[in-house]
């Protein structure tokens, strides 16, 4: 099975002075895959993600994102990825329409296309007629779903989600994952970090980071068999116990 690889990382390392935040991680992500990135606080997840997003230069190792080199081509990388963080990435004092317009606009989408996308997006989220509502007035779960839809409004090859469901109730979380599956079916690759082990089980493959290294990488089912555990929770605990670093 020779599936197209959209992210490749080989011995990717990031050091801050004496501290090795990310220690020679190697992995591939294929097109349309939902790739989970799991680890305790301070394990290096965010640093790894920042390197792949072009926000931070690696100290050593190689990586390509959407076919572009993270050292030299981070401008091209930025055009081909979407990003959503645990904190709100929406402007609360702007309306839904203005938020969509802004984010679609900074990715250079044409006005016509933005209009089309806005209509489509509102329909998908069942928010028709509410385009002039201020984001501030929306319930938390809706904002999160809107934020995700906006993160992929420019049809990126990959979307990076940094703990996207923090502070959201389980039902909304499930709905949120519905959106993720839809996006994945459209061929968008999902790279997601999470704390929630039930979410890890939704992923196609999961990598578990401990002290800056990837200690395990496989499908959730395989990992559970390998570590003889009934849930991802058990797998994670076995691995995380070995951690030397403590969370921040």
């Amino acid at each position: 099975m020779e599936k197209e690889k959209v992210i490749t990382a080989k011995d990717l390392t990031k050091r801050f002075g004496d501290f090795t935040a990310v220690d020679k991680i190697t992995f591939d992500v294929t097109k349309g895959e939902i790739f989970g990135f799991i680890g305790a606080n301070g394990a290096g997840k965010t640093t790894a993600m920042r390197m792949l997003c072009g926000l931070s230069l690696p100290t050593s190792g190689e990586a390509t994102v959407a076919g572009f080199d993270v050292y030299k081509q981070n401008e091209q990388i930025k055009k081909n990825i979407g990003y959503m963080s645990q904190r709100f990435s929406l402007y609360e004092d702007l309306t839904i329409r203005e938020n969509i317009r802004f984010y679609a606009g900074i990715y250079g989408l044409a006005d016509e296309l933005i209009k089309e996308k806005t209509a489509l997006l509102l329909k998908q989220l069942h928010m028709e007629g509410q385009e002039n509502t201020l984001v501030r007035a929306m319930p938390l779960g809706w904002r999160q779903k809107l934020a995700f839809s906006i993160a992929i409004v420019h049809d990126p090859a990959i979307v990076f989600l940094d703990e996207p469901t923090g502070g959201v109730d389980p039902i909304t979380r499930r709905e949120f994952w519905g959106l993720i599956y839809e996006a994945s079916e459209k061929g968008i690759t999902i790279f997601v970090t999470t704390h929630y082990m039930d979410e890890a089980e939704y992923c196609n493959r999961v990598s578990i980071m401990v002290d800056g290294r990837i200690d395990a990488l496989d499908s959730p089912a395989n990992l559970m068999t390998q570590y003889a555990s009934a849930s991802m929770d058990g797998v994670f605990l076995q691995l995380a116990r070995k951690a030397v670093r403590t969370g921040d």
């Binding site: 926000l55 931070s56 963080s85 990435s89 702007l94 802004f102 900074i106």
Partner: protein, 368 residues
Amino acid sequence: MKQFLIFVKKEWLHIWRDRRTLFILLFMPVIQIVLYGFALTNEVKNSKVAIFDQSKDEATTVISNEIAASRYFNLVKNVYSYKDIEATFRKGEIRMAIVFPAGFRYDLLHSNHAQIQLIADASDPNTANTLTNYASSIINDYQQTLHPTEDLPYTIKTQVRMLYNPELKGAYNFVPGVMALVLMLVCAMMTSIAIVKEKEMGTMEVILVSPLRPFRIIIAKTIPYLLVSMLNITSILLLSVYALDVPIVGNLWLLIAESILFTITSLSVGILISNSAKTQQTAMFTSMMSLFLPTLLFAGFMFPIENMPIPLQIISNIVPAKWYFIIVKDVMIKGLGFTAVWKETLILISMTAALLGISIYKFKIRLA
């Protein structure tokens, strides 16, 4: 470029949605001009005085009338004893008392020496000084009228000409000051808050991941505030010309160009503050402490810099407002051209370049 404009538009929406802040931004200069122009003036006008006239002759009546007619004084009371004077001062009814001794005119005409006592409330030393000076000059004028034709052989007459501001209006000094203060405040404080707000909300990260180049983001954020500042300059200049009668003697375009330069300096200060501040509150307090107070103290419009101790004089040089204040005074009030202010202009340009340079450098470090 289109992306850039979309960003500017979004930034404008932020300002527009926050009407209360916008209102404050636009009316703060108006209020300051009105306050400094009419209420907080350090000119001495209509000061209340009392007269203790123990002579009641022709001469004291003329002098008293002159005093009462002067726009500096407002004769509120005639008192009849020293005790009375003290009581009136204590009640705060007057700022100065004028005492004519008994037989004032007689002494003046017969012994050529007459005395008048001026008693002033020196708890405010500057005002007391000014008041006694005004009163002395009115009395001197009277003395001149006594010998209109007679010229003494050896007299030195001083002719005083007040250049640039013949009426000694305080507005000539504080209009440039308010311009410096308002621009510094609007540009530096508001931009630093606006940038830090994006960091605090987490939207900065998302924008940084987008194809927009980091420094364009910062520039885009400052543009709406540049426009607000232009409005402020306009309203201050209109008010000063039409409400306070402070004319723009020099070249208007030079004045505007220099103001834009100072606006950009202030914006750079704001960007630098936003680089190190993590929360909007920090940004606000940093701006207040590092800009508002130094601008007030060291721009030179409240306290003369020449009178400060040497270390403070040196410190005042790093306050951009000081240079802008000099430029505005030179161009607007004295009517001087670019040749007179090129040094100050160069200083502002170098400060701006340095501030932006440091900001770009720090920005890059943060991204690496």
